[in-house]
Symmetry: C2
Subunit: 456 residues, 2 copies
Amino acid sequence: MFSSQTYKQRRDTLRGMLSGGVALFVGAVEAPANALSNTYRFRQNSNFLYYFGLDMPDLIAVVDVDSGEDIIFGNDLTISDLIWTGPQPTIAELAARVGVGITKPLSELPAYLERARACGRKIHATQPYRAETAATLVALNVCDVPSEELVRASVAMRSIKSAEEVAEMEKACDIGYKMHMKAFEMCREGENERRIVGAIEGIAMQEGWGVSFLSIVSQHGETLHNRNCDGVLQNGRLLLVDAGAEALSNYTSDFTRTMPVSGKFTDKQKDVYNIVLAANNHVFDISRPNMPYRDAHLAATRIILDGMKQLGAVRGNVDDALQAGAAYLFMPHGLGHMMGLDDHDMDELGEMYVGYDAEIQRSEHPSCKACRMARRLQPGMVVSVEPGIYFIPALIDKWRAEGTCKEFINFDVLEGYKDFGGIRLEDDMLITPEGNRMLGRRLPITVEEVEAAMRR
Amino acid sequence: MFSSQTYKQRRDTLRGMLSGGVALFVGAVEAPANALSNTYRFRQNSNFLYYFGLDMPDLIAVVDVDSGEDIIFGNDLTISDLIWTGPQPTIAELAARVGVGITKPLSELPAYLERARACGRKIHATQPYRAETAATLVALNVCDVPSEELVRASVAMRSIKSAEEVAEMEKACDIGYKMHMKAFEMCREGENERRIVGAIEGIAMQEGWGVSFLSIVSQHGETLHNRNCDGVLQNGRLLLVDAGAEALSNYTSDFTRTMPVSGKFTDKQKDVYNIVLAANNHVFDISRPNMPYRDAHLAATRIILDGMKQLGAVRGNVDDALQAGAAYLFMPHGLGHMMGLDDHDMDELGEMYVGYDAEIQRSEHPSCKACRMARRLQPGMVVSVEPGIYFIPALIDKWRAEGTCKEFINFDVLEGYKDFGGIRLEDDMLITPEGNRMLGRRLPITVEEVEAAMRR
């Protein structure tokens, strides 16, 4: 948690960006796993965390734009609660930690909002992602969500990370580093994917809040969000590990490495690997303020197409192939996403506001339809850089059958890659006034570094 | 997952217990953590698992009591899903694994239920614990929940574990054993509670599905559900570790041990510890089919009062103190809970059906108002055995101020225990035709065993 001043300033800045009314922040409630009483680890709503900092359930807060007041609504614990929770600070004490001087019981919230509405003032809220929050908004008669004004202001503010936010992200990177080094250490024939997941997610919990997303640990890297994790590692296969942590402040890291189970890449693996590595490195070479991140997506996918041409899987003019959308066959996802208090930062506020703006809008052009973070980079933004090459048998077959990009793809060559899997290499990038810098210590990434990290 | 025959038999048995209509089983959807797209680890609804066995989101199933049909409603994946998920079996293939021959897309469910209702047939469903499920039930026009008939039938069936269910619980116990042995190993001055949580929860994920509930690792064992886990271990304190795992089948274990951070109990700690141990052992001595588990609660709390009398904190006649509810000051929770596919098994169906029945109803009598599992034991039941002694300063002060049980409690003596913390010792018990047996290998529990487990 930052100083009370930090939160107060954020709310004052927000107030200055809204035309009027009341901005409502519904904090998360506990998330039941298999019963009301058996919950997942509590995860606060990120927008609530950003403006109100308090990391506990059952709080709702408002920023009153017109009066200048901030109020936290919450109920103090009773003596019978205390048996289960131990002594806890009061809501007023908690509120003081984040610079809020007014607190009220939750029962007073409906009347408060009713009064604001009666004066013709707008209630701003964001789109709920959990049905409990949706029900709360309905109960509070807040139906006109999301408030585009609140969303745009939140995105504008949260997109630019302060030095203290970057420091928290570097803590998350340190944890992510340990997680991945453990994966390098454990990756060997006969080991189980699930055991690696448990080991690295345990590290995320030991050192921070836990994982920033469910870890992907799979010999089927071509399956982008593989959650099976049931495989037994086999020499000859590649293992893709995409995992990150949240610091105790909930700021995130997100790294991907791909490693040969045997500890040594084959020549064929090395060839594809080095294309992905070149794409990753190139993005760091070119990214700087004011560059649309879509350009980095295009530059990375161009390297991938060029590399696959060297391997005979792509033919013809690479720029034409890029324009035709041929890269989607190898990398059917965007180059990266915004990062911060969420792994995919501000996803709850809507990708169309986070990754796009009035100038750079979502495009269905074949060359960048997979790109999700497209707008111009600014100093203080943190984005993931995660090019990949995947050989997805179902997609290859579909394109072949439909003749998609057939003038640019050599499907016969691709037949020989159908059991290859996939490679992704992901680092986290802070945009600086001068250009960019990588967050955290870089994990082993060259062929030599990876093989050295796996040597035992 | 068990054989398709197992699930088919369960559904046929259920059909025989319901008077008619359609029993509806709404499987879980993914649970968003901080965005729709960033979810917690998927946890299937346990009643769905019990009758339909499939461990994936977005399935709804029905047991048609009148026609004898079982149907699974779910949508097959599209090619664009497959890029993210990899090749997956069809709904029909999945259904066949659990003995269901009829599958339909989810879009056909509303009309199916409408037809049943039009014929005057009842739709049975259980109480939702997640708002997403509640919204689904509303959308399906299923308002009359819970169906007491379905709840009673489910509880009756799920209360009695088959041999194959017990075998799964023993797998969960094996994982729990490893988790707790790791905690014994890590517990030492200067270590952080959170690091132990991470280490043991990592083991739960490495070996099974994950934890059966959020681990409690605390030097403030007197706080019954302490989730802070921020403490640094200090010599002289006791560390309470309450943790368990779910096997991959989601069957659970749940153990508690309490250990001296220094590796050696003080005499004062040993005295209290041995009272709790005696209570735990006594429950295994007396528990057998047909005994109300409330009697075990009373017997355990009587041992606690008797022990505290030896230590001077209780005075007068122990049976009178028991009847007056004096034990609640030391152990303000029940002796145990049913276990199975949930840690607190069937909590979603309602404690009043799981822990009580027509004969043994919930009581506000001071001696057993905290008792939650009270009804008669039957062979095949699995219950936790978890007596404890806690010194909760807020509760001691409240009782003293209000004069509660003042003729039985020596509050002056208790002043000397206000910084003691709490002790709980928990094992898992299967009721057998002959009596009972402990599930899994027993963790170190005597003073000597615990000190030996911590020796390094």
